[in-house]
C-alpha cells in the first residue's frame, strides 16, 4: 500500500459535499414516518394587540384536522420558553401567545392535520379578534416616558441595563487633545439561512421516549431544555440534528415550535412534522444586531486614542429568546478591537420592542463592536487628516505584548496585527492605489479605499463565559472508537451545519492514528449516539471540539502503544503511528500493523495485564481562555455619483485564524462570511414600519447579496498560533463577517470624502449615498 500523506494542512475537498449536492442528504423535511401528521401555525398580523378571542371551531371541524389549539388551551400545560442569559426583566414567553400578541409573527394558534395542505387550509378558518394597541418599534423611543409597554408587569420596556466606568476614565478622556462624538446604527438583520427551521417529533409510547428531529445547532442543549419543559428525563429524549442547511446563530435557540411539536406528539401519540416557510422564517426566526450607539472618543493629535465611551441602545425584540440579552455583552467586551485604547466606559440598555427577538447572528455582538471601533478609527483619521492606516498603526497592540489584557478586561492570546496589515497593504498595492485614487478624483471618479483591522473572540469559551442557567458549559467533547476492523468512528459534541468538520476532524484523526481519512467516519448531531456536547456556535467547533478530539485520540493512542509495546517488546514511549502501523520512531521499518494491535484489543485472546479489552476513549476539553483571530480586509470601491451605486474594484482579505487544518474550509468560511458582512454594509436591513409591520417579509424585499453582487476576493493568511490548544487553531466561522462590514463602509466613506461626507448609516443604499451627495453639493452652494 502506498505511503499515506499527512492530512492536516491539506486542501481536502469536503467529504460531505457529494451527498449534499446530489440531493442525498437527509434534512428534517426528508424525515417521513408512518402516520405522520403536519402542523401549521396561525401568526399575529399585528405588532401589538390584545387577543379578544380565538375561535377554532371551524378549523376543528375541517375534514382532516386532528387538533387545533390556542394559547389559552395550553395555559398551565407547557411552561415558558427559556431564556438562559441573565437579565433584570425576563418576560413570560408562552409558546402560543396568551392575552396579547407582541410582534408580527407571534404564534397565536397551531393546527395539526393529516397533510400540510389541510393544515394550511385550516389556518384560514380560524377567526381571531384582536384589539390593536400602539406599537413601539424604535428602541430609543421605547424608553421614553409614555411609550406603550410591551410587558406591563415590568412597568418599563427596559429588559436590562449594564454599565461600566472604570476609575481613571474621566482623566483618560481629559488627556485627549480632541474628542469626537457620533451616533452609529448597526441595523437589524435577518439571518437568512438556506434551510428554514423544521421539526419532526415522534413519541414512542411503548418506550416512553420522544425523538425530535430539529434543524438546530445545539442538539444537546435543546434536549436539556425540552426535558425541563416536557417533564421527561434527558435519557428519554433523543434530539437529532440531521443535515442542517445553515444556521448562522439563529438555530442556536429553543423555539416555540420545538416545544409545541414535542408536546403535541406526546398528547396525540402520533408523529408530527412542521416545516417553516420562508415568510415565517423572516418573521419568526431570531434576527441579529439592532444597536444604536453613541460614541465619544478622545485622542491625541498624533492619533493615539486615550478613551472611548459607548452608550448602546440594543433592540431585544418582544421576548428574550435563549441568549438574547447575552449577545450585546460580546459587543462591549470587543469594543477595544486590536488597539490599546487607554480607557473604555460603556452603558448598555437592552430594550423591548414590538419585533421578533434578536439573538446570535454570525458574529453575535462582535460585528457591532468591530464596526464601532473601525469606523471610529476612520473618523479619527478624517478629523486629524491622517491616513487611516497610520491611525491604526499608532494604536495597535504590539506583537510582543501578548498575552495582552485589553481596556475591556479580556485577555488576548496572541496576535501580530502589523503583520496582517502589511501583507494586505502589499497585496492591494496601497500606496499606488492612493495615487490612482487622487488621479481618478481629478477626473470626477470617486474611488474609495477602506481598511479594517479586526480582531474577534473565538473558541467560546471557558464555561464561566457562558450563562449559568445553560445546562452545559463552555467545554466540548469527543469520542474515538477504533472498530474491530481498524476503521475509526469519531463522535463529536459539536454540531456542524455547513462548517465541514466531517472533513477536518477526519484529517486530525487520520494523522494521529496514521491512517487514511477514508477510514474515518465522523458522526454528530444525534444525542442518542453522541456523548453530551455543547454545539457549533461562537467559532468554537475546531478550537474546542478539535481539541477534545485530540485528547480522545491521545487516550486511544496510549492504549494502542501499550498493547504494541507488549507485542513488539519495545518501550511504548518509542512508538509512533505511521502508515497504518505502529512503528519504532528511530526505525519505522520496525513496525507492527495497526490491525494486529486492534485485534489484540478486541480479540483479547492473550489478556494484557492492566489493559481492558476494547478500543475507545472519550474526552471533554475545558479551555482556559478564548482565542482571538484577526486580520486586515481592504476594499476598493467606486461610487457612481449620479446614481449612488457602489461597485467593487478589489477586495483583499488577509486573515489569521492560527494554524490551518484545511485551507479550503478556511477560505470557504471566510468567503461566505465576507458575503454576509458586505451584505450588511450595502444591502441588508430588516425593516418594520412605524406600526410594527414587517416590510422585509420575503426575499423579494430583504436583499441578501447574490453571487454577482459579491466581488472576487483575493485571499491570504498569516499564521499566529494560539497556545491555548494543542492544534494551535483559533476559529474562522465568523471572522469574515466581522472584518468585512466596516471595511466596506470605510471604503464607501473614503470615496465620498471629496464631498465632505463623514458618515452615512448602513446599509449604504444608492439612494442614501445619492442624497448625501445632493445635500453636500447644496451645502457647498449655499
Amino acid at each position: 500500500m502506498a505511503a499515506l500523506p499527512k492530512f492536516i494542512g491539506q486542501p481536502i475537498r469536503r467529504r460531505e459535499d457529494p451527498r449534499l449536492i446530489t440531493g442525498e442528504g437527509t434534512y428534517v423535511d426528508d424525515v417521513k414516518l408512518a402516520g405522520m401528521l403536519h402542523a401549521a401555525l396561525m401568526r399575529s398580523p399585528y405588532a401589538h394587540a390584545k387577543i379578544s378571542s380565538v375561535d377554532l371551531s371551524a378549523a376543528r371541524k375541517h375534514p382532516g384536522v386532528i387538533c387545533a389549539l390556542s394559547g389559552e388551551d395550553l395555559a398551565g400545560r407547557l411552561p415558558s420558553l427559556p431564556c438562559v442569559a441573565p437579565a433584570q426583566n425576563v418576560p413570560e414567553h408562552p409558546a402560543l401567545a396568551r392575552g396579547k400578541v407582541r410582534y408580527v409573527g407571534d404564534a397565536v394558534a397551531i393546527v395539526v392535520a393529516t397533510d400540510p395542505y389541510t393544515a394550511r387550509d385550516a389556518i384560514d378558518l380560524i377567526t381571531a379578534d384582536f384589539d390593536p394597541l400602539p406599537a413601539v418599534v424604535d428602541a430609543e423611543k421605547a424608553l421614553q416616558p409614555g411609550a406603550p409597554l410591551i410587558h406591563e408587569n415590568f412597568g418599563t420596556n427596559l429588559a436590562a441595563k449594564a454599565e461600566m466606568t472604570p476609575p481613571g476614565f474621566d482623566k483618560a478622556m481629559s488627556e485627549a487633545d480632541k474628542t469626537l462624538k457620533f451616533r452609529l446604527v448597526n441595523q437589524r438583520l435577518t439571518p437568512t439561512m438556506m434551510e428554514p427551521r423544521g421539526v419532526v417529533a415522534h413519541w414512542e409510547h411503548g418506550y416512553k421516549q420522544l425523538t425530535l428531529w430539529s434543524s438546530t445547532q445545539i442538539p444537546h442543549l435543546l434536549r436539556s431544555q425540552l426535558a425541563d419543559m416536557l417533564k421527561l428525563g434527558e435519557n428519554k429524549i433523543r434530539v437529532i440534528a440531521p443535515e442542517v442547511g445553515g444556521g448562522f446563530g439563529a438555530k442556536l435557540n429553543v423555539y416555540a415550535e420545538e416545544a409545541l411539536l414535542g408536546y403535541l406528539a406526546m398528547e396525540l401519540d402520533r408523529p408530527i412534522k412542521w416545516i417553516e416557510t420562508r415568510r415565517e422564517n423572516m418573521a419568526a426566526t431570531t434576527h441579529g444586531r439592532g444597536h444604536v450607539t453613541y460614541v465619544e472618543v478622545g485622542f491625541k493629535n498624533d492619533g493615539a486614542i486615550t478613551a472611548i465611551k459607548a452608550k448602546f441602545f440594543c433592540d431585544m425584540g418582544a421576548y428574550l429568546q435563549l441568549l438574547t440579552p447575552a449577545i450585546p455583552s460580546f459587543t462591549a467586551l470587543m469594543v477595544p478591537g486590536c488597539y490599546r485604547v487607554g480607557a473604555l466606559a460603556f452603558e448598555q440598555n437592552l430594550i423591548f420592542t414590538n419585533k421578533m427577538a434578536t439573538d446570535a447572528y454570525r458574529g453575535a455582538g462582535r460585528p457591532e463592536a468591530c464596526y464601532l471601533i473601525e469606523r471610529t478609527m476612520d473618523m479619527v483619521a478624517a478629523e486629524l487628516g491622517m491616513d487611516p492606516v497610520q491611525v491604526r498603526r499608532k494604536n495597535f497592540i504590539p506583537k510582543d505584548a501578548f498575552p495582552f489584557t485589553t481596556a475591556a478586561g479580556l485577555q488576548y492570546d496572541s496576535g501580530d496585527y502589523e503583520g496582517a496589515l502589511n501583507k494586505a497593504l502589499a497585496m492591494v498595492g496601497y500606496d499606488k492605489l492612493r495615487t490612482e485614487q487622487a488621479a481618478a478624483r481629478q477626473q470626477g471618479r470617486y474611488l474609495g479605499i477602506g481598511v479594517s483591522t479586526y480582531v474577534e473572540i473565538c473558541g467560546i469559551g471557558p464555561s464561566a463565559l457562558l450563562p449559568p442557567k445553560l445546562k452545559g458549559g463552555g467545554w466540548e467533547s469527543a469520542t474515538v472508537r477504533v472498530e474491530p476492523d481498524s476503521k475509526v468512528t469519531v463522535l463529536t459534541g459539536v454540531s456542524p451545519h455547513g462548517q465541514g468538520q466531517e472533513t477536518s476532524f477526519a484529517q486530525i484523526a487520520a494523522d494521529a492514528l496514521g491512517i487514511d481519512i477514508d477510514d474515518i467516519n465522523v458522526l454528530h448531531g444525534d444525542t442518542a449516539i453522541v456523548q453530551y456536547g455543547i454545539g457549533t456556535f461562537g467559532s468554537r467547533a475546531t478550537a474546542l471540539g478539535g481539541t477534545a478530539l485530540v485528547m480522545a485520540l491521545g487516550k486511544v493512542q496510549e492504549k494502542m502503544k501499550t498493547i504494541a509495546s507488549r507485542l513488539m517488546e519495545v518501550p511504548p514511549q518509542q512508538l509512533i503511528f505511521t502508515n497504518r502501523t505502529i512503528a519504532l520512531a528511530s526505525d519505522p521499518s520496525k513496525s507492527i500493523p495497526l490491525q494486529k494491535v486492534v485485534e489484540a484489543a478486541y480479540g483479547y485472546k492473550q489478556p494484557i495485564p492492566g489493559v481492558e479489552p476494547g478500543l475507545d476513549a472519550s474526552a471533554f476539553f475545558e479551555p482556559s481562555g478564548c482565542t482571538f483571530p484577526f486580520g486586515t480586509h481592504i476594499a476598493v470601491v467606486e461610487v457612481d455619483p449620479q446614481t449612488g451605486a457602489v461597485k467593487f474594484l478589489r477586495y483583499v482579505a488577509v486573515d489569521d485564524c492560527g494554524k490551518i487544518i484545511n485551507p479550503l474550509l478556511v477560505d470557504g468560511q471566510l468567503q461566505g462570511g465576507i458575503a454576509q458582512g458586505l451584505g450588511q454594509a450595502l444591502y441588508e436591513e430588516t425593516v418594520y414600519d412605524e406600526n410594527g409591520q414587517l416590510v422585509t417579509a420575503s426575499l423579494m424585499d430583504y436583499a441578501i447579496p447574490k453571487a454577482q453582487m459579491v466581488p472576487a476576493i483575493e485571499m491570504a493568511n498569516t499564521v499566529t498560533p494560539t497556545n491555548l490548544n494543542p492544534l494551535g487553531v483559533k476559529g474562522v466561522g465568523e471572522a469574515g463577517t466581522i472584518g468585512s462590514t466596516p471595511c466596506v463602509a470605510n471604503a464607501v466613506m473614503d470615496a465620498l470624502k471629496p464631498f465632505g461626507i463623514r458618515h452615512i448609516d448602513m446599509p449604504l443604499k444608492p439612494e442614501k449615498i445619492w442624497r448625501a451627495i445632493q445635500e453636500a453639493k447644496q451645502a457647498k452652494k449655499g
Binding site: R120, Q642, T643, Y683, V687, V695, L699, M709, K765, P766
Partner: protein
C-alpha cells in the same frame, strides 16, 4: 408554502386551451412558465380553481421571421430569447432585457407571454417591447386581434387582454440600418426586478440627427410606459450630450412614481433620467450605418 386546491388541465394546442378557458371561465388561469403565477398561488394571493397548462403547446414556442417581421411566440422562454441570434441581431434591447431577468432557473422556465400577460410593473420586457413597438397578437373565442404595445399595458397587473383570450405572439419590425437600441436596468437588490429599466431605440437620419426616438420605461409607476416627453425632445436634434441630457430629463414627466424601501419616488425618477440618458447613449453607439 402550500397553494389552495386546484385542478390541473394540460392543453395540447391553442384551440384546446381556448376551449378549456371557455369551459371554466373566471375560475381558470393559464399556466405558462409558472414563475409569476405559482408564487402568487403559494402565497394564496391567487386561488384559481383550474390551471390550464399551455407549457407544452408547440405552436406558441417558436421564434420566426415572417413577412419582414420577427415573430416571437408567447411560450418562448427568456433564455431562448436571450440566446437567439435573430433577436440579438435585430432586437438587441429585447435580448438584453431577457438576459437580465431573474436567474438561470427563472429564464429557463419563464416565458415572454407569461411576463407580458402578468404585467408586473417592474418586469423587464415591457420597456423593451414598448421601445421596439411590438405588436401583441391575442386570440379568443371571438377570433384574433392585434394590440400595440403602447395600448397593451393598462395598469398594475392589468392588460388589454380579456379573460377568455390567449396571448399568442408578439411581432416586431427588425431594427433598420442606422438604428440602435439598448436596455439598461438598475435591479432592485432583493428581487432582481427592475427598480428602473429603460429601453431606448434611436434612428439617425442621413444628416446625423435623431430621426426616430423610442423610449420605454419600467419600474417607475404602476405600469411600463413610453416616455413621450423624451422622444419628442430629442427627435430631430443632433445627438449631442446636452440635447440627450435635456431630453432624458423628461423621463419621469407626469408619472406618479412608486415609493418603497428600495427607492423613494424622487430617487426612482432620478434613476429613470440617468438610465434614460445612458440607454440613449448606448443605442446611439450602436447606430452604425
Amino acid at each position: 408554502m402550500f397553494p389552495a386546491t386546484f385542478e390541473y388541465h394540460r392543453a395540447h394546442s391553442v384551440k384546446d386551451a381556448l376551449a378549456l378557458l371557455k369551459r371554466f371561465g373566471q375560475d381558470a388561469k393559464l399556466l405558462s412558465g409558472g414563475h409569476s403565477l405559482l408564487p402568487m398561488m403559494k402565497l394564496r394571493l391567487a386561488q384559481p380553481a383550474h390551471l390550464i397548462d399551455i407549457g407544452a403547446v408547440g405552436e406558441l414556442a417558436q421564434i420566426a421571421e415572417e413577412g419582414g417581421k420577427v415573430v416571437i411566440g408567447a411560450g418562448v422562454t427568456h433564455q431562448q430569447i436571450a440566446d437567439s441570434a435573430l433577436v440579438r441581431g435585430k432586437l438587441q434591447a429585447l435580448a438584453e432585457a431577457a438576459a437580465q431577468i431573474g436567474d438561470v432557473q427563472v429564464r429557463n422556465r419563464g416565458t415572454l407571454g407569461g411576463s407580458l400577460a402578468h404585467a408586473d410593473p417592474a418586469a423587464d420586457y415591457p420597456a423593451a417591447v414598448l421601445a421596439l413597438e411590438g405588436e401583441v397578437k391575442l386570440e379568443g373565442a371571438q377570433g384574433t386581434r392585434t394590440v400595440k404595445a403602447q395600448d397593451f399595458f393598462v395598469d398594475l397587473l392589468t392588460t388589454a387582454m380579456n379573460p377568455d383570450e390567449i396571448l399568442r405572439q408578439v411581432s416586431f419590425s427588425p431594427i433598420a440600418v442606422g438604428t440602435g437600441c439598448a436596455y439598461l436596468k438598475r435591479p432592485q437588490p432583493a428581487s432582481g426586478f427592475a427598480l428602473v429599466g429603460v429601453a431606448a431605440l434611436v434612428s439617425l437620419g442621413r444628416d446625423g440627427s435623431c430621426e426616430k426616438v423610442r423610449v420605454g420605461v419600467t419600474g417607475l409607476g404602476s405600469k411600463a410606459f413610453r416616455a413621450a416627453g423624451v422622444e419628442s425632445a430629442l427627435a430631430g436634434k443632433k445627438p449631442e450630450a446636452n440635447a440627450i441630457a435635456a431630453a432624458a430629463a423628461h423621463a419621469a414627466d407626469g408619472i406618479d412614481c412608486l415609493s418603497d424601501i428600495h427607492a423613494s419616488a424622487d430617487f426612482r425618477a432620478e434613476l429613470a433620467r440617468v438610465y434614460t440618458r445612458r440607454a440613449i447613449e448606448k443605442a446611439l453607439e450602436r447606430c452604425a450605418r
